[in-house]
């Protein structure tokens, strides 16, 4: 509207905290999609995507590597562990608790990312 700088009151952060309900600014920024809000939500999306892709990569390499292992090291196809053939032990049993553990870890970390995000928004 005008080029004349407005007078601003310089106060200590403590006073501001008393005068403003916490989290309003960032929340408004998010809601109104301004530059700050955009950066905030991009950071959350990136954090969650990196987390999801990392875990997917771990399982992709572990599980996806199995057929390749069986192909390049044929002795693993017949190896016995605890009296059970290795492929049956892994694919028929061990893989299921591992998948659940991966899911559990993801839920913990994803919820932590979201808590951090909420804290960040409410503190600013």
């Amino acid at each position: 509207m005008t080029d004349v700088p407005r007078r601003v009151a310089v106060t200590s952060p403590r006073t501001r905290a008393v005068r403003r309900p916490p989290g309003r600014q960032a929340l408004t920024a998010l809601d109104e999609q301004d530059v700050v809000g955009d950066l905030l939500i991009r950071s959350l999306v990136r954090a969650q995507l990196v987390l999801g892709l990392r875990l997917a990569a771990v399982f992709g390499i572990l599980l996806g590597g199995l057929p390749l292992l069986f192909a390049v090291a044929p002795q693993t196809r017949d190896a016995q562990v605890l009296g059970i053939a290795l492929p049956w032990l892994v694919l028929g049993g061990a893989v299921y608790p591992a998948l659940w553990a991966g899911g559990w870890l993801y839920v913990r970390l994803a919820e932590r990312n979201e808590r951090d995000f909420v804290d960040l928004v409410e503190r600013s």
């Binding site: 999306v45 996806g64 057929p67």
Partner: protein, 560 residues
Amino acid sequence: MSPDLAAIALVVLLTLGIGAYGLRLARTTSDFMVASRGVSPLWNASAIGGEYLSAASFLGIAGLVYAYGADMLWYPVGFVAGYLVLLLLVAAPLRRSGAYTVPDFAEARLGSTVVRRLASVLVVAIGWLYLVPQLQGAGLTLRATTGAPVWAGAVLVAVVVTVNVAGGGMRSATFVQAFQYWLKLTAISVPALFLVLAWQGDGAPDLAGPAGPVFRETTSVRLDAPVVVDVVERVVVQTSTGARVLTPGTTRLSGTVVFPAGSAVPHVDRIERSTGDTWARPLSGAGGLEHPLYATYALVLATFLGTMGLPHVLVRFYTNPDGAAARRTTLVVLGLLGTFYLLPALYGALGRLYAPELLLTGRTDAVVLALPAAMVGGLLGDLLQALLVAGAFAAFLSTSSGLLVSTAGVLVQDVLRGTVRDFRRASVLAAVVPLLLALAATSLPIGQVVGLAFAMAASTFCPLLVLGIWWRGLTAPGAAAGLVVGGGLSAAAVLGTLGGVVDRGWPAALLAQPAAWSVPTAFAVMVGVSLATRHRIPVDVGRTMLLLHAPEALGLSRGR
């Protein structure tokens, strides 16, 4: 009434009964479609598990392991790992999108009715492709246990499910399916316990011995239809017209054939005879599967990425109260499914020893049902078989209900007008088409047809959901092009496989497991066309990203 028929009647009555209980609670269209989003995580997870454990899980996996060996263990692994991928990449944002169906998601994210319509067509196509083997499984089960004609089981399941879904919608489906998960787990684990005890009582013979499958005792095999089999060693059999000498080579058998104890089992011509060693070893091509390494990777891709695109799986996420609950529900589902899938392979392995005649008749999907009579026998055997039949029918009913709810939901929203009465009409339409297909189509292994449905979902909805949730650059033309290409390629592969266009070599392997080439192509097309049409990026993409990813705890205005 035989125990099997009693078991089927009980499951049907309980399904309809619990459905009627839910009906009293269903009042609005929203009740019908997504249970008004008031379903708790354990209920919802049990319902997801109940809905997901289909004929393919209850019968198909054991049948595939029985015939084709260790490589088939990837089916259940993929069915569970698909849920992990779903949890990692889509569960919470999909719930936060607030849409009812995939077409809703597509429209909300991209603002395009063209993409919406394409997604609707695909939901119906995948739903119907998945329904066909469920109905065929019902026909097979009823025939294997009571001798009823094949159409009877398919019609029975189609009618019960339609009545139930048209009557109560998803609210009743939630109750019914939660109950059916626990029924299925009981039905597969209790007989398994007795079978393992019987196996140990038998001296725990090697499940993968050096010889191929043999008839352990004199076995009478009744063939409803003539089969062409490969005989590997000379054997004298008794038929209704007297003794007959079978010499090595291909021969045609019909009627009732009695094999002497200790003779090698001639296999139906589509399954190659394999020794125990070959059968137990991955990548050995047991059963005559060609290019096992390619097939394994393509199957892994289809199941890992296809789960998130199954219409009946997706619609369940909208019944969670919020994104965090969607994640927790998925985690419970991972546990429930992992527990169940420990067992089907066991039936497949025991079947090689105790029910080898199914390798001759080719009805390998019946191996789960055949074992109690073969291994336990007597009244206990009858009761265990009845329990398995109950579990199998629970599988057909629950998966078919879920598929019907989502297919009818899409039909009613995009074809009809969207009231409760239209939902009922849509349910009938959604059930009749796959029933006709099931009665007309030749029977492929259940697990294989379901695998094709996964491949189709992985080639279409997986790229749409993953890119739509994580990549701002996705445009409506890009999504539409990807859906058309991915859907077209996978549909061509499905039709080619079901129609038996080629049956040998690389072309057959590529068609039978299309995901390895159709999924990357669909992703590439979706990304490529989106990049070329950057000016079409939706203007409200920032708002959408906020809705998809911001935790509900912030209390942002969500619009819906």
